[in-house]
Each structure stands twice: as structure tokens, then as C-alpha cells.
């Protein structure tokens, strides 16, 4: 319901709004000035891959692939670099040593690395593992590199069809690693060119200028003529302008301090860690022989590497971006080297980038000066260093190169400087505003307030535009500093000045002129005729208004909502069955079959019926679709798909009731397209149903408390909806206190409802349901013995904020500041002061805040999905605040005199803000993957087309390749059973990582897994025993990371040593341990 009073502005308030607009614009411009000129970010670079081709495996499926390339080198290289781009995640290895890794979700990750340390004379293997989380498509790789030999001979490394690739490491026979030179890669399939070569692919930007590694090193090692162990070297380089892009690579024979124009660049090695490292005991080792006296071996034997330690510390060529300290004209670079026992020697190589892209190089040579007195002009009195030799000179050899982090610039000075810059810009913008308003007021002979309000409104589109321009910085396809360019800042200032010329049009561009123009447009577009046609279609042919008994104008929003709902349904229905079930979905699917047999969800386990003790209400829709369509991924996800789609409508209608149609429709549109909501609507687990019924609860409760006394029927309906919510997931019990607090805030200073007896009746009913559910849970858990623990141990709220695992920022990171929610949260915070009086806004914000506080502080388990049921209120609150802000601007324009210019500015600002909200909320235009707060990591459910676990692929592979007599460890037995048709033979749980019941009722009492009752293998001895007794052993690791984490090291070592990886896909692996004894002979038929 539109709260008209809240939108009414007094003259005084319009004055405030003028100031708010101008200050917002000034602060944003100040931020741009700061980031562009005063404290620019580090540059980022796009890699050029030249003639290299995208390659991929020919085998299918291949979301994970292992690429290999052998190169032969006659000698150690002088220079060797490689740049790589791969789908999602990669690991680059040279001769088995990891050189670089990169990981992301749904991004083409890139990197550039110096690989000379890993290369050696002879055959070398460049190996890359690529693992993809997005679908469809296989793992893809793009590589370009170059190896320069001492004689100048250059070998290029380019990805093409000559590369070898396999989708599993089990292809390697024997015990060699797949990255080894011993592996005959002729047996591997060849890579094929990827279709990506015909497309434009946007790659992630890198932090290091590729030229640092690509340019040959020109410098010389230098030392002072007296070969002192402490020396200072300096030189002068000339720059054309402030902060000209400048890189320097430095190496020294001892401790090195580097300064540019009196600013320290290198961090003192001891200062980084605060000077201390804890004493650390590595791994237990065999006890060495007895000591002659205590402490002797501690000195001699503690560090076995000590005997083989080289005389010189290994030196690295560290690359620094020193652009920040560069100023126009001469720049002094000073380096101090302090060595122990040997002469202080220094090596440097660097370059400045000119505006035309060319570079000017500088490096250490005899032209440098010993001491810190280097001058731009040559001084014969200055002492010059001695050149020892070029890069590669003994004893240092060819140095490995790496990107170094310069000293932190942040400090009190930079803090005050930042605020000074922002403050000055703000002052300039305000001054301009006041001056222009005064001039316009005098010229137009109108009150100063009117011209100030109009001029302030002109700041709105600029502020909104600057906000929009920030968005590409958070898209990995753009560099971090994309929007902080002088052109944008100067452009913004120019627009800020030129837009004032529009004041000249105020007299000419009147509402009458606008209306006339609009009429002309309508005539040209045959508006009336088309409108009549549409009206005819809707009113006479479809007879919708008659059907709904409302006029067309009122019907229109409903039609729009229906269109949005259909759009949402299309997005959710698309690829509904593409992904395999995950273990959470399968748990509910398996239980839903019990409904068709006994009428309630259960599974049968060791002859006992185990009924569902959580998510009780979720399997019923699954059972219904299972009954109607059979059991498949499509049919099981259909209820979620429908409920996710219905949630769009509920959000639209709830938004309409709380704020009005515009908020409802826009929030519904955002929700329909938001990746998180689409992903959960394609998943049969509980969150979508839980969110849907909780939305109904919140809506019904709001409707019920609108009346005095409360509407009993609506309150009863809200109670029933709450019970369904609770039975969909009991963590939603927090909704109850949240609703009570929302009631107090909405009905502020009203207490009559305390005497409403029906409220207590409803509470009693809810209490009965909660107690019954709790009893059911306790009864179900008491009938058998078990070891291990799981999330179901958490039976209720606790004082989690006192526990060490307490993470107050968890839901801030995972919900409020996750990639698609940031601006909604921001708008809620911005809107709090001016929207608080709006009843609907209070209701939504109080619900959101209370649920956030309760989940953070009182639920001793953390997961992003736990916040999913109240996520719509982030959208609703953010959209409502934006639209109310929009209304304030339009109201300000009306007060200003309702000129066309002011209205245009108000509408442009409001619409730009809505566009901003929509663009950052989904992947359609920009991929705002880096908008999340720093504590967040990409979640599997927050982006479209990311695959969770390929249980289906692994189960089918194992069943297709298993032979009679093979033993199978199925990983998660019930999912394996669904896809393979058999449960498998054993369950591996060597750390009691999941609940394992002890079944006494079986003939041989034993631990058995809770899904299928398989015997549990508890340690390495039992595993070996099974392996030795069987033919071949299949071990399915799904999800792979969990198995690595939850099994004992001895078991993992055994598997990695004796098993081959036969199948790999999204987060799953199938290992095969060959027969330890002659395979059992099969019965032969005559």
C-alpha cells in the first residue's frame, strides 16, 4: 500500500534532498579523483597469446583434463616464461614441480610465470591440469611461452594439436606420476582445437606486466670498486609525467633496501611477519642415533639440508611496480646491499612505458653511481661501480623472476590524504552548485531554493552514472581500475559543468512542449490505433477484464507479473535435468518413496523403518511428481521449479501490498533473473520450498496484523504456513521471534494486541508442532547405537556467540555482501533514514535484521543456504528503498516547479538506479563476481551453469566397466544405487566422519552405513583385507574433497599408491585397485 504521507515533502525537506544529492555526487566524484590521481590502484594487464590455439580433449566427458607437452633443451635456459589461460581452475607443472595455480568459478583464469627454475637440459615436460566447474563444455587450455637458450636460440611453446591430453590420470601405467618425463606421452590421445578459437573469449587480467618476463635482461651485476660488503648504488631515470608506468627487477648478494625518490619500496624481510615465526615441529621422523652430548645433534643434525647448503643464498629477481613514486623529470633510485663475507653486488633491470606504448629501458651498469648522490648530470667526482658480468654470471646464474609486493602505502598520512582529496572535491562541487544556483536564480528571477533544487537534481544522473561505471571494475573481464581513468573523471567534471547549460532550456522546454512532443510521437507511432487494438484483444477477445472483473488499467500490472513469472519459469525450467542429483537431493528423493508405500517419508534400514526427522514436509511434493511422472531428475526437481516460480508471484504481490506495484514488479523481475534463485529452483533439496512457504507466512502475517483486532482467518493461515515452513527446515523457527519483533515495530506504541487471545492460540498450535517434531526426532535417534556425529546433533539454538567457531561476519559475506546482493544491501542502508517511517519498509528490514542476528548468534552451524529463506527481503528492501528514493526525487522536481528539465533529471536518476540494481543482480550484462566482500568465496549455487557433483557419471562408468567379482565402495551408497542399480559392497569411513550405526540385529553385528546398511571399513587393515580378498576394487570418491578430508592419511596413502584414477568428473573420482590375487574364475558353461 502506497504510503502517501511519507512521500509528501515539505519545503524544508526538499532543501535537505538538494543537499543530499549534491553531497552524494561530490563524494562519488571525490572517490573517482582519489582512485584516478591521488592513490591509483595497481595496473592490470591482458595477456597476448599470439598464435596459440585453445585446445581440449577429444574424449568425453572431460570437465577435468591433463595436458602434456615435451620439449627438449640442450642447456639450462637463459630465459623461460609461460602464459596460460584455462577454463576455471588450472595447475601448471614443469617437470613435476608446480609453477603456478589459478582457480575461479566460471571464469577464464590466466597467469604468467617464469619457468626457468623448473627446466633442465634434456627432455622437459610442461604439464597442465585443468578442472572445470562450469558447463557445458570440456576443460580448455590456451598456452603461449618462450624458452631462450644461452646462445640465443629460441623455442616457442604454443598450445596446438601436438599437445597430449587425457581426461584421467589412470591412463599412465606403472607408478610414475602423470607429469613425469618417464611417461610415454605417445600413448596419450592428442588434443584437438577447441571451438573457442572461433569466438571472442574474455580472459581475466593479470597483475604483472608480461614484459617483465618477456624482455631480455640487459643489466650487469655491479659492485663497488673496493668490493665492500656494504654498498649503496644509485642512478637517475627521467620520466615524462607523474606515475608513469615503471617496473624494476632487482637482485642482490645480500640484504637489499630499495628506495625511489626517497620512498622505501622493499619491505624489510623481518618486518613482514613481525619478526617472529613460531618454532614448528614438522613431521615425526625416525629417531636418529644417540647423541654424544645434548645439543650436538640439535646443531648438526636438526637441519639435514644444512650440509648440502650452497655457499650463497639462492637469489631471486624480484619485480616491483614503482610507478606510484615516479614524478616528472629526474627520479633517483637508491639501493643498499649488505652482504656477509662477500662483496655487496647488485643487479637491476627495468623499464618505463611511454604514452605511445613503447618502452625506455634502464639497468645496472658502470654508469650507476656508488653512493646515494646520483645526479641527472654527469659528475666526474662520483665513483662508479664495477661491472661483474651480465645476467647469468656465476655464481648466481640465471635468476628466477617473481612478482614482489612493495611496501604497504596505507597509513595515517594516506588516510588523511584520501579524505582531504574527497573533501576538497566535495567542496568544489558544492561551491559550483551554490554559485550556479545563485547565477540562475538572478537570471531567471526565481527564488534561490527553486534554482538550487533544479541544479541539485542535475547532479543525480551524474552520481548514478558514476555508480554504474564502477560496476565493470568487479567483472573479471575488465581490469580492476577500469573506471578510474582520467577520461572518465574529466568527462564527469565536463558533464557537471555543461549540464548546467540545460538551465537555458527551462523556459523553452516546458511541460507543454514535452506533452506536444509526446503527442507527436504518439501520432507517428499510431499509438491510439495500437492501443485500441490491444484493448480489443484483451477486453473483447480474451475478455480478461470481464473475467477478473477489474478495469484494464488495474489488470495491466497483473499481466506484467504473469509475464515476469513466465520469464522466471523459463529460466528455471531450462536445463532442469542436466545435472546429476547430489547427495542432499537424493536423501529426500529416497525418503519420498516411502510416502507411496506407507504414507510418510522413510527409508528402510537393516529391517528397521527410519522415518524422516528433518525436512518432513519436503518429500510430499516429490512423491506426488514421482507418482505422476516416475522418478527422474526432471520429475523430482519439478516441485522446486514450480515453487521457485510461484515465489516470483508471491514476491510481486507481497511487494505490491507492502510498497506498491512498481516495487512488487521490479522485485519480482530481479528475483526471477537472480542466479542464486534460479539455481535453487533447479534443485530438489529443501531451500526453495522453505523459502516459498516462509514468504507466504510473512505475507499472511503482514495482512493479518493490518487490522485491529487481527484478522483471525489470516492469522490462522499464517500459523499453518509457518508450520509448513518449520517442517520444511526447523532452522526457520527463528522466523517466529522475527515476526514478533516486526509486529512490535510495525505496531509501534500499540499494545492492544497483547490481549488478542487468538494470537496465543496460534502460538500454542505452533508450540505443539515444534514439540511433536522434536519428539519424533528424539524417538528416531534413540533406537540404535552409533558413533560419529553430524549436523543433526544440533537440536536447537545455542549460545553460539560464545563458541570459538563463532563467525559474526559469515552471513554478511554470504548473503548481504555476496556478489549479486551488494547494492540491495547498500540501498537498504542508504534508505534507512528516509524510508524508516514507511510501515512496509520497517516490516521487511526488521525481519531481515532479526533473522540475520539470530542466525549469526544462535545457530551453531553455518551455511549460505541457511540464509536462503530470508534472502528475498534483501531484494524487497533494496528495491523499495530505491523506488522510494526515486519518488523523493520526483517530488523534489515537483516542488521545484515541475519543469521538464527537473522531471527529466529525476526520472533519469531513478531509472539509472533501477538499471544499476538489475545489472548487478544477474549475469546477463556484467558478471559481478568480484563485488563480493573479501571474506566471501564463490559458492557453487551463486552462479548459473556450475556443476555440483557428477554422481551419475561416476556410477554409470563404474557399472559399465565393473566385472563379476569386483568389489565396489560406492561413496554415497543411495545416490550410487539410484544411478547404478546396485548399492555397492562396502562403505569407507575411517575417521568416523559421518554417523555410523552399530547394528546388533544383524546375524553378524557390525557397523553399517546409514544409507544402505553396507558394512563399514574402519581402518587401513580392514581395507587391505577387503582388497586382498577381492578381484578388483573400485573406490568412488564423491564428493572428492570430502573424502580426502574425512579419511585417515594411511588409507589415502594406500589408495593413492595402489589405485589408478579411472574416471574423473565434476568433484568425483573413481579409483581402481587392480586384483591383488588371481581373479576368481567365472563359472564356465560347457
Amino acid at each position: 500500500m502506497e504510503d502517501a504521507t511519507s512521500l509528501r515533502l515539505t519545503g524544508g525537506k526538499s532543501w535537505h534532498w538538494s543537499w543530499i544529492l549534491v553531497i552524494a555526487c561530490g563524494l562519488l566524484l571525490g572517490y573517482y579523483v582519489l582512485e584516478t590521481y591521488a592513490s591509483p590502484r595497481h595496473r592490470q594487464y591482458q595477456l597476448d597469446f599470439g598464435r596459440a590455439s585453445w585446445i581440449e580433449p577429444a574424449q568425453t566427458p572431460a570437465p577435468i583434463a591433463y595436458f602434456r607437452k615435451e620439449i627438449y633443451l640442450p642447456a639450462n635456459p637463459e630465459q623461460a616464461w609461460i602464459q596460460i589461460a584455462a577454463s576455471d581452475t588450472f595447475g601448471l607443472m614443469v617437470n613435476g614441480h608446480t609453477v603456478g595455480t589459478g582457480g575461479s568459478v566460471k571464469t577464464f583464469e590466466t597467469g604468467i610465470y617464469d619457468i626457468k627454475r623448473g627446466l633442465k637440459p634434456g627432455t622437459n615436460v610442461i604439464a597442465v591440469s585443468v578442472s572445470r566447474t562450469s558447463y557445458p563444455g570440456p576443460a580448455q587450455l590456451l598456452i603461449r611461452g618462450q624458452v631462450t637458450e644461452p646462445g640465443g636460440n629460441v623455442t616457442s611453446i604454443l598450445s596446438d594439436e601436438s599437445w597430449r591430453v587425457s581426461n584421467r590420470t589412470g591412463i599412465v601405467q606403472g607408478t610414475e606420476a602423470w607429469t613425469s618425463q618417464q611417461v610415454e606421452d605417445q600413448l596419450w590421445p592428442k588434443a584437438r582445437r577447441s571451438p573457442l578459437n572461433d569466438q571472442h573469449v574474455s580472459l581475466r587480467w593479470v597483475d604483472m606486466n608480461p614484459r617483465v618476463l618477456q624482455l631480455p635482461l640487459l643489466g650487469y651485476w655491479i659492485m663497488a670498486p673496493n668490493a665492500a660488503s656494504e654498498s649503496v648504488f644509485s642512478t637517475v631515470i627521467n620520466a615524462d609525467y607523474t606515475r608513469q608506468e615503471t617496473w624494476i627487477q632487482v637482485a642482490a648478494s645480500g640484504d637489499l633496501d630499495l628506495a625511489v625518490n626517497g620512498h622505501i619500496v622493499t619491505v624489510a624481510s623481518t618486518a613482514i611477519s613481525g619478526g617472529k615465526k613460531l618454532p614448528h615441529l614438522a613431521a615425526m621422523e625416525p629417531t636418529p642415533p644417540p647423541l654424544a652430548k645434548p645439543g650436538q645433534l640439535a646443531k648438526e643434525g636438526f637441519n639435514p639440508a644444512k650440509q648440502n647448503q650452497p655457499a650463497l643464498e639462492p637469489t631471486t629477481l624480484s619485480a616491483y611496480d614503482i610507478s606510484y613514486w615516479i614524478r616528472p623529470g629526474p627520479n633517483v633510485i637508491v639501493a643498499a646491499v649488505r652482504s656477509e663475507h662477500i662483496p655487496a653486488s647488485f643487479f637491476a633491470d627495468g623499464f618505463l612505458t611511454k604514452p605511445d606504448g613503447s618502452i625506455w629501458r634502464f639497468s645496472t651498469n658502470s654508469g650507476w653511481v656508488v653512493g646515494d648522490e646520483a645526479k641527472a648530470t654527469t659528475n666526474p667526482a662520483q665513483q662508479h661501480p664495477v661491472q661483474i658480468g651480465k645476467a647469468g654470471t656465476s655464481p648466481w646464474g640465471y635468476l628466477p623472476q617473481e612478482l614482489a609486493r612493495p611496501m604497504e602505502r596505507a597509513g595515517f598520512a594516506s588516510f588523511f590524504e584520501a579524505w582531504l582529496v574527497i573533501g576538497l572535491t566535495l567542496a568544489l562541487v558544492i561551491a559550483l552548485w551554490l554559485i550556479v544556483s545563485a547565477i540562475v536564480s538572478g537570471w531567471r528571477d526565481e527564488p534561490r531554493m527553486v534554482s538550487m533544487a533544479r541544479d541539485a537534481l542535475l547532479h543525480g544522473p551524474i552520481a548514478a552514472g558514476l555508480l554504474l561505471l564502477l560496476l565493470p571494475n568487479y567483472d573479471p573481464r575488465f581490469p580492476d581500475e577500469w573506471s578510474f581513468q582520467p577520461a572518465i573523471v574529466v568527462g564527469a567534471f565536463a558533464v557537471l559543468l555543461l549540464i548546467r547549460l540545460l538551465h537555458l532550456l527551462v523556459g523553452k522546454w516546458t511541460p507543454a512542449v514535452t506533452r506536444a512532443g509526446f503527442e507527436r510521437f504518439k501520432t507517428g507511432a499510431q499509438w491510439e490505433a495500437r492501443k485500441a487494438q490491444a484493448r480489443d484483444l484483451v477486453s473483447r477477445k480474451l475478455r480478461l477484464p470481464e473475467l477478473f472483473e477489474i478495469p484494464f488499467r488495474e489488470l495491466l500490472p497483473y499481466l506484467l507479473l504473469i509475464v515476469i513469472v513466465f520469464l522466471g519459469f523459463g529460466l528455471r525450467y531450462h536445463s532442469l535435468a542436466y545435472m546429476s542429483f547430489d547427495h542432499d537431493e537424493m536423501g529426500l528423493v529416497a525418503k519420498s518413496k516411502g510416502i507411496l508405500i506407507l504414507g510418510f517419508p522413510y527409508t528402510s534400514f537393516a529391517g528397521l523403518i527410519r522415518w524422516l526427522t528433518t525436512y518432513e514436509a519436503v518429500p510430499y511434493p516429490l512423491a506426488l511428481t514421482g507418482l505422476l511422472f516416475g522418478y527422474s531428475e526432471w520429475s523430482m526437481r519439478l516441485p522446486s521449479c514450480f515453487m521457485g516460480t510461484l515465489s516470483i508471484a508471491v514476491i510481486g504481490l507481497l511487494g505490491r501490498r507492502l510498497f506498491g506495484w512498481r516495487t512488487g514488479l521490479f522485485a519480482a523481475l530481479v528475483y526471477a533473473c537472480l542466479p542464486l534463485n534460479i539455481r535453487w529452483a533447479q534443485n530438489a533439496f529443501y531451500p526453495t520450498q522453505c523459502q516459498f512457504v516462509s514468504l507466504l507466512t510473512v505475507w499472511l502475517f503482514y495482512e493479518a496484523i493490518q487490522y485491529r483486532p487481527f484478522d483471525r482467518r489470516l492469522l490462522t493461515a499464517a500459523t499453518i504456513a509457518f508450520c509448513f515452513t518449520y517442517l520444511s527446515w526447523e532452522g526457520t523457527a527463528f522466523l517466529l521471534p522475527a515476526l514478533v519483533i516486526a509486529l512490535i515495530v510495525v505496531r509501534w506504541r500499540e499494545w492492544w494486541w497483547l490481549k488478542d487471545f487468538h494470537l496465543y492460540r496460534c502460538l500454542f498450535f505452533i508450540g505443539a508442532v515444534v514439540v511433536a517434531q522434536y519428539c519424533s526426532r528424539m524417538l528416531a535417534g534413540a533406537s540404535y547405537l552409533q558413533v560419529g556425529s553430524g549436523l543433526s546433533n544440533l537440536t536447537g539454538p545455542s549460545l553460539f556467540f560464545l563458541a570459538p567457531g563463532y563467525q559474526p561476519m559469515f552471513y554478511v559475506d554470504k548473503l548481504l555482501l555476496s556478489e549479486n546482493h551488494v547494492f540491495f544491501t547498500l540501498m537498504i542502508v542508504v534508505g534507512l533514514p528516509f524510508c524508516w517511517k514507511h510501515r512496509g519498509f520497517r516490516y521487511v528490514v526488521v525481519l531481515l535484521a532479526t533473522l540475520f542476528i539470530l542466525h549469526t548468534n544462535f545457530l551453531a552451524a553455518l551455511s549460505p543456504r541457511y540464509a536462503y529463506y530470508y534472502q528475498p527481503y534483501v531484494i524487497l528492501g533494496g528495491v523499495a528503498a530505491t523506488i522510494m528514493l526515486y519518488d523523493r526525487l520526483v517530488a523534489l522536481a515537483r516542488l521545484e516547479g515541475d519543469t521538464s528539465l527537473a522531471r527529466f533529471a529525476a526520472h533519469a536518476t531513478g531509472l539509472a538506479m533501477l538499471v544499476l540494481l538489475f545489472v548487478q543482480s544477474n549475469e546477463s550484462v556484467l558478471k559481478e563476481y568480484e563485488l563480493s566482500s573479501t571474506g566471501d568465496t564463490p559458492q557453487m549455487m551463486s552462479r548459473l551453469n556450475t556443476y555440483r557433483y557428477d554422481y551419475r557419471g561416476v556410477a554409470r562408468y563404474v557399472m559399465d566397466h565393473a566385472r563379476p567379482g569386483d568389489v565396489i565402495f560406492p561413496g554415497i551408497p543411495h545416490v550410487f544405487n539410484f544411478y547404478a542399480g546396485v548399492s555397492g559392497d562396502y562403505f569407507l569411513d575411517t575417521l568416523y566422519s559421518s554417523k555410523v550405526p552399530y547394528i546388533q540385529s544383524l546375524n553378524d553385528a557390525r557397523f553399517a552405513d546409514k544409507f544402505a546398511g553396507l558394512p563399514v571399513i574402519r581402518d587401513i587393515t580392514e581395507l587391505k583385507d577387503v582388497v586382498h580378498r577381492s578381484g578388483r576394487t573400485w573406490i568412488v570418491f564423491a564428493p572428492y574433497a570430502s573424502f580426502e578430508k574425512f579419511n585417515s592419511p594411511a588409507v589415502l596413502d594406500y589408495i593413492h599408491e595402489y589405485a589408478k584414477t579411472e574416471f574423473e568428473s565434476y568433484r568425483v573420482k573413481a579409483f581402481l585397485i587392480p586384483a591383488a590375487q588371481p581373479e576368481a574364475k567365472l563359472a564356465q558353461t560347457p
Binding site: S229, K299, S993
Partner: protein, 442 residues
């Protein structure tokens, strides 16, 4: 249904009381919530130590380092805040400004708490950053044992910059926890309430009251700011090869900022510059520099000797040298342990704990060492001493209990062993493999 008269009377009374309470709530809800937050914050943790005790507002002393075993202090931030609030609540109706002034002081206490840790009690910040590394070390001494599934705050690695005053302030803030947040929020709400009740000149009073926390922060920031200036100058002079000037600057930095005065690396840097300049061959800094070099070369006994020589200088130099000596003894103990000299290792750890009680993690090694050399009773004693110090960290304390359980099992006291394994399971029921296998006798 007929309601008895007595019950109806009670119902009426409850309704009357509820209405009165509701009126009070509606009029003073900001003050009520703010006061509750301040009162509640006093018992909550203000500082999250990664390993040892978490400090509450009752224990976070304004005057001295709270130490390893913090006790309730009258000069603690929370205690002072609470007392002030109680006084203000008693008298605020007589003077409306009093409440706003109290809120201003509370905001000041809240604001200076991290600055206090960063600049006035740098040993606390040093210990906080030091303990970040404890968790991986501890797991070495345990069996195959994993963290709880819902993670710990230490899982997100902190990127701390400790070589700038600003970085240290940010580091201190990163360790502040719920108690501090609640105190600040409560103070803010009380402040808003107090100012809203002022009869006139609200804006001017607000600015005047803000001067208190701002002024306090400025006073606290000036010395480390000057220290930072001298430190930077020293680094620059060092880079220019002007060793004497660099030494002088570093000494000034130490005078202005206690962090630098307790920084062993800065002493070592001064010692190295003195060595290169060929001066002060017997200075404490030269001894520390030699000790650091010897320690890096695994010459621990000689390093300990050099540290002990440096400790003769007194003042902060001695304090720092003592701390480093104890840390070196722990490392020496580990080296000896590796080399098979477990008895000698235990001796070193005993000395380390005696010299610097802040070396709490050495107790873990000591407990394990006693177990290895069959001093099970001593192992139990150390374990019992350690458990209360780390009681807030479920998985660590579970390990301690399991180790004590192992000791009792070796002594043949199965009943006691079972008690401790069960305590371990109670402390941390999730994936507690050690305790489970202990209970089944493996």
C-alpha cells in the same frame, strides 16, 4: 469457560503492568537496549585470542598487559564503562547532559580499546599475531584429527601489516570481537537517546561531546605517529648507507613507540648497522644481532647465551631479550626432541615456561614430552594446567583431554582415562577420532 475471579484479577494486574512496561519501553527503548548492550558486553569477549584465553571487558586492563591468565580488573575497559553507566543512570533525570556525557566517555573507551592494544600494550598485539601460528603447530602433536566442520575464525588468513602504525591499528581492530561491538553500539544508542533528550543546542553539544573520543584518539595516535616517522627515516637512511643516522632514528622510533622497543628485529638491525660501522662491538644490540644470526644457523645454545648477555642491559632491551631467549629454548627443545633427546627437550621447555609464562604453547610440547619419557603424572599435571588456559577452544582442549586420557591409560587407570576421553568428546564431538579410538582401547 468461566474464569475464576482471582485469576481474572491477576490477569488484569498483568495487563496493567504490561501496559506500564510497554509505555516505559516505548519511551526509553534506545536507553534500555543501549544499556543492556553495554552491560552484556562486559562479560563477552572483547579480544579474540587465537589460542589462549579470550579477554572480556572485565579483564581487558586499561593500564597493564592482561597477561596469560587474565583476571578481573577494576581498571578494565568494560568495568569502567559499566560503573560510569550505572552512575549516569542513577542521576540522569537531574541532569540531561550527564547521560550524553557518559555516552561520550563510553564511545571514547570503545574507540581507544584497539588503539590501546596497538600502541600502549604492544605485547598483547604481538601475542595475538604470534598465536595465529599456533594451530598448525599443535596438530603436529595430535593424532589424525580434524577441525570442527563449521570452521574457526582462524580459517580466514589474516593479512596483517605490522611494520606501520596504521597497519598495527588495523591488526588490533581485526582481533576485536562481539563484546567490543556491543559496547560500541550500546554507547552509540545511549548517546542518541541522551542527545535527543537535551533541551537545546543539540548539534553543538553533539560536536562538543564528539571531541572527547576524537581527542583521546589523537592523543593516543601522536606518539606512534612520531615513532613511525622516525622509523621511516631510519629505513631511508639505512637505504642511503647512512648507518649512524639510521641507528639514531631507530632509537628515537623506539622511544616513541613501544612496538619498536620490543621488536627484536629492529635491535638486530641496529646491531648489524653497528657491526658494519665497526662501532659498539659489545652493545646489547650487537648481542641480539649475534643471537638472531646464531638462531638462524641453528646454534641455539650460543644464541641463548647471547640473549642472556643482552638481557643485562635492562629496560625494554632486557624484556625483549628474555622473551626471545624463552622462544629460542622452545625451538631448541624441538630440535632436541627431533634428535631423540626428549629428556633434554623437556628440560628446555620447562626453562622456557619458567622464563616466559606467555609461551603457553610450550605446555603442549611439555605435556607430550612428559608422556614420551613416561612421566605420565607430570604430563597429567601440565595438561590440567593447560586446559583452563585454552578452555574456549573446543578442539584444542579436546586434544589436551585426550592426551591426559592417554597418560591415565598408560598408568593403568582406565576409569580416569575414560573420564578424560569422554571430556574430550564432550568438548568436541565432531570428528574426534583420538578420543573415540581411546575409548574403544585402540
Amino acid at each position: 469457560m468461566k474464569i475464576p475471579k482471582r485469576l481474572a484479577r491477576w490477569f488484569d494486574r498483568i495487563v496493567t503492568w504490561s501496559e506500564v512496561a510497554a509505555r516505559i519501553w516505548a519511551d526509553h527503548w534506545l536507553l534500555i537496549i543501549g544499556s543492556l548492550l553495554v552491560i552484556g558486553s562486559v562479560g563477552l569477549k572483547w579480544v579474540q585470542f587465537p589460542f589462549t584465553h579470550d579477554l572480556s571487558g572485565l579483564r581487558l586492563s586499561l593500564i597493564r598487559d592482561p597477561g596469560v591468565t587474565p583476571h578481573i580488573s577494576i581498571f578494565a575497559t568494560g568495568t569502567l564503562g559499566l560503573l560510569l553507566l550505572l552512575v549516569a543512570l542513577l542521576f540522569w533525570r537531574r541532569n540531561a547532559t550527564l547521560l550524553a556525557l557518559t555516552a561520550s566517555i563510553l564511545v571514547m573507551l570503545w574507540a581507544i580499546a584497539p588503539a590501546q592494544i596497538a600502541f600502549r600494550q604492544p605485547s598483547v598485539l604481538r601475542r595475538l599475531t604470534y598465536e595465529l601460528e599456533v594451530t598448525p603447530v599443535l596438530n603436529v602433536f595430535t593424532k589424525d584429527y580434524l577441525l570442527q566442520n563449521y570452521g574457526t575464525p582462524e580459517l580466514v588468513p589474516k593479512r596483517l601489516v605490522l611494520y606501520t602504525a596504521w597497519g598495527r591499528l588495523m591488526a588490533a581492530i581485526s582481533f576485536m570481537r562481539l563484546g567490543w561491538d556491543c559496547f560500541g553500539l550500546g554507547a552509540l544508542l545511549i548517546g542518541i537517546y541522551g542527545i535527543s533528550r537535551l533541551p537545546r543546542a543539540k548539534l553543538r553539544t553533539t560536536f562538543l561531546l564528539l571531541a572527547l573520543p576524537v581527542g583521546a584518539m589523537i592523543i593516543l595516535l601522536i606518539p606512534p605517529g612520531i615513532g613511525q616517522h622516525y622509523y621511516n627515516e631510519g629505513m631511508l637512511n639505512k637505504t642511503r648507507g647512512r648507518n649512524q643516522e639510521a641507528i639514531a632514528d631507530f632509537r628515537r622510533a623506539m622511544r616513541w613507540d613501544r612496538w619498536h622497543a620490543q621488536d627484536v628485529d629492529l635491535y638486530a638491525t641496529i646491531g648489524q648497522l653497528q657491526k658494519l660501522a665497526g662501532v659498539s662491538s659489545n652493545s646489547p644490540e650487537r648481542h641480539i644481532q649475534r643471537a638472531v644470526e646464531l638462531r638462524q644457523a641453528n646454534e641455539y645454545e650460543e644464541a641463548i647465551f647471547e640473549f642472556s648477555l643482552a638481557a643485562d642491559a635492562g629496560g625494554w632491551t632486557a624484556y625483549t631479550a628474555h622473551k626471545e631467549e624463552a622462544a629460542t629454548r622452545v625451538t631448541l627443545g624441538l630440535a632436541l626432541y627431533h634428535a631423540g633427546g626428549i629428556g633434554a627437550a623437556v628440560k628446555q621447555w620447562e626453562l622456557a615456561v619458567a622464563e616466559d609464562p606467555a609461551q603457553v604453547y610450550a605446555l603442549f610440547y611439555l605435556a607430550r614430552g612428559y608422556y614420551d619419557i613416561a612421566l605420565y603424572q607430570a604430563g597429567i599435571a601440565v595438561g590440567d594446567k593447560l586446559a583452563p588456559l585454552i578452555k574456549d577452544h573446543n578442539y584444542v582442549v579436546a586434544n589436551v583431554y585426550s592426551l591426559i586420557g592417554d597418560c591415565y591409560a598408560k598408568l593403568g587407570k582406565d576409569a580416569e582415562a575414560r573420564i578424560y576421553y569422554n571430556r574430550s568428546l564432550t568438548a568436541d564431538p565432531i570428528l574426534n577420532y583420538w578420543a573415540l579410538t581411546g575409548l574403544v582401547g585402540e
